[in-house]
């Protein structure tokens, strides 16, 4: 108590104490002015999702990712499964236009079919986000892979692996009607134009079908046992390509490049087993997060649909033996759904 004998000192100490405690006592909380309008902009809004089909890793992954990001904000999420039927998809988009959701997330089966419809949707005041497969109409946002880049990088991988070898490669395309397949082929051609030494011994469409891919690859390998690389257009189909390479006993000798959404069973585990040497992944959970981010931004901005147009091309993850073991290179659908 001797310390406080000096009144000046006691006052200073008391003032100091008061100064330290005052803000805490006076705190009423400060309202962040933008969160409430944000919440209001999202709550009760409908986001409609039109994939070419459900039940495969890409579309299931986008669905799970979008749901996880948007539902906590009270966004209603509806799905219209076109189930590989372009007509059904066009009908779904048409009926959605009259139902007027706030946002449509559309996965185009080709470049033309939905183009006019999507333009109409934006004129009617619906934001349109296109995923992975764009249409001829440029809408508010495109989120997806750059197929030309995928084709280029796969082919670069194959060309590099062919150095000092036979320089004979094969191309296993998807379905001829699919623009993703045609764009990827363009990428392949871009690289091959720079490498005249590479000889394409076979370039056939396997219709996204593993059995067909296997049959084609088997025949090609029998004719060209010295083949040094294969550019495949989708990992779901190239399981067949890889099975043919394995049966011919050419794992490690024939470089198999493919691409896909990076789901663990379809991508990382097959790279680890040696079936694929390179799998260009367009990492579906990241795409879903980017889509969700775009939706939040569009809804909270209140801008007129169609008045801004932009693209978010996915940063590709090349999955090879080096990173196939890492937790980040691939994703599990079951975990994403949790």
């Amino acid at each position: 108590m001797k310390h406080f004998g000096n009144p000046t000192k006691a006052i200073v100490a008391a003032l100091g104490l008061a100064a330290m405690t005052a803000p805490a006592l006076a705190q009423q909380g400060l309202d962040e002015p933008f969160q409430k309008p944000f919440k209001e902009a999202l709550a009760g809004k409908t986001v409609a999702y039109v994939p070419v089909a459900m039940n495969f890793d890409l579309t299931e992954g986008w669905y799970a990712g979008l749901k996880k990001e948007l539902e906590p904000f009270g966004v209603k999420f509806v799905i219209r499964d076109a189930n590989w039927n372009t007509n059904a998809g066009a009908q779904a988009v048409t009926s959605l236009i009259s139902e007027k959701p706030a946002v449509m997330v559309v996965h185009n089966p080709d470049v033309q079919t939905y183009a006019k419809l999507l333009q109409r949707a934006e004129n009617e005041g619906i934001y349109v986000i296109q995923i992975n497969m764009g249409s001829a109409y440029r809408s508010s946002a495109f989120v997806g892979a750059n197929w030309v880049e995928i084709g280029e990088r796969q082919t670069e991988g194959v060309v590099k692996a062919c150095e000092g070898k036979s320089n004979k490669i094969a191309i296993i395309q998807g379905a001829l009607s699919a623009a993703a397949s045609a764009y990827t082929l363009k990428g392949v051609e871009n690289v091959l134009a720079k490498h005249p030494e590479i000889k394409v011994v076979s370039s056939q469409a396997a219709d996204w079908d593993a059995a067909k891919a296997k049959a084609i690859t088997q025949t090609v390998l029998k004719q060209n046992p010295d083949l040094c690389g294969i550019v495949g257009f989708w990992d779901g189909m190239d399981i067949g390509t890889a099975a043919a390479v394995k049966e011919a006993g050419l794992i490690g000798k024939v470089f198999v490049a493919t691409s896909g959404g990076g789901e663990r069973k379809g991508a990382c585990e097959l790279v680890k087993s040696g079936a694929f040497d390179l799998n260009m992944s367009y990492d579906v959970p990241t795409q879903a997060a980017q889509m969700a981010g775009t939706i939040k931004w569009l809804l909270s901005s209140g801008i007129k649909p169609g008045s801004v147009k932009g693209s978010e091309y996915t940063t590709l993850i090349p999955i090879t033996k080096e990173n196939a073991d890492s937790q980040m290179a691939c994703w599990n659908l079951s975990d994403l759904k949790k």
């Binding site: 495969f56 079908d209 084609i216 025949t219």
Partner: protein
């Protein structure tokens, strides 16, 4: 009629011989033992499916749901093993599902008397839909470690010959035995030739028709297992493909008349060989996809025209829902 049947078979065989000869002379790398094995291996599953289809077509029916039986039960095996069930339990479930499916098909056609074309069109959609909504998580069901060892059904070789060719051979022997050596087989021919006469003579035609569809579904499931083992996965979306037309092509091309009662395993083998030779040759020549479809379409058209020319439809052979 018998003389005509041999004619059809001879024509197709001549086409096969001609194709084979032309490819052997002009296509470098076609006539090698390795390529011959690849050729057979690539069409083995198609051949097994052709055998399944042949049984119902001989009995004057058709089974459009065959691809669903190929895709869904084997897909279920892969899915169940992936979910942690044992392989034998999964296989048993799949076989039971297949039998149930065959029974439904057979009941609809034999007892409810729905034309086979429509009945199987609907049940095929039903089974594929069931698979998609309730059984599978993804369209492509991936191989899982629990299945290890089972891939030998479709991969690797026995005595230097790819396993899938052996599987086709076994299926050929089983079906040939069933059709030619058992009473049931004779009944199937009798029903296909003239269902009313067959019934009048006391053949239990309805149970036999049910049996046909059960056996067909089981063979379809077997083909699916070979296919899944061969590509290490089950792409169940194959139901939406045009595979069923290839199967009908094999059957008709081989000379099994769609009006029933004719043909056998040999016809399926010939049909399969023609398709195999065509596909293999076109792949070696690197013909574009559209070109391949064109050629396949022309060949199917020729086969169907030849069929209706050699086995003309009349009141006796016409049937409801005839294709």
């Amino acid at each position: 009629m018998k003389r005509f049947r041999f004619n059809q078979q001879e024509i197709v065989f001549a086409v096969f011989a001609l194709l084979f000869l032309v490819f052997s002379i002009f296509l470098r790398g076609f006539l090698t033992p390795d390529n011959m094995l690849t050729l057979l291996q690539n069409v083995a599953v198609l051949g097994i499916l052709g055998l399944a289809m042949a049984i119902v077509v001989i009995g004057r029916g058709i089974d459009i749901s065959l691809i669903a039986a190929l895709a869904v039960p084997p897909g279920l095996v892969l899915q169940m093993v992936q979910n942690g069930h044992s392989l034998p339990a999964s296989l048993l479930t799949a076989v039971l599902l297949t039998i149930a499916f065959g029974l439904v098909n057979g009941w609809l056609i034999a007892y409810a008397e729905v034309p086979s074309l429509f009945a199987t069109l609907a049940t095929g959609l039903l089974l594929a839909g069931l698979g998609q909504t309730a059984l599978f998580q993804l369209d492509v069901v991936q191989w899982s470690p629990g299945m290890d060892g089972f891939e030998r059904l479709g991969q690797g070789t026995i005595l230097g010959i790819p396993t899938s060719i052996w599987m086709f051979a076994i299926a050929c022997i089983v079906v040939a035995f069933l059709l030619r050596q058992t009473r049931w087989g004779a009944y199937i021919y009798a029903i296909g030739d003239n269902p009313y006469a067959a019934r009048v003579t006391g053949i239990p035609s309805r149970p036999i028709i049910v049996l046909q569809y059960v056996i067909t579904a089981l063979i379809g499931c077997f083909a699916g297992l070979v296919m899944a083992a061969s590509v290490n996965s089950m792409p169940t979306r194959i139901f939406n493909s045009t595979l069923i037309y290839d199967v009908i092509l094999v059957v008709v091309l081989g000379g099994i008349g769609l009006s029933g009662g004719r043909g056998g395993v040999l016809n399926v083998v010939i049909g399969t060989l023609v398709i195999g030779t065509m596909l293999n040759g076109m792949t070696i020549m690197d013909i574009s996809y559209a070109g391949q479809n064109l050629i396949k379409g022309v060949v199917l058209l020729l086969a169907v025209i030849t069929d209706s020319f050699l086995n003309p439809r009349n009141e006796e052979t016409a049937q409801q829902g005839d294709i």
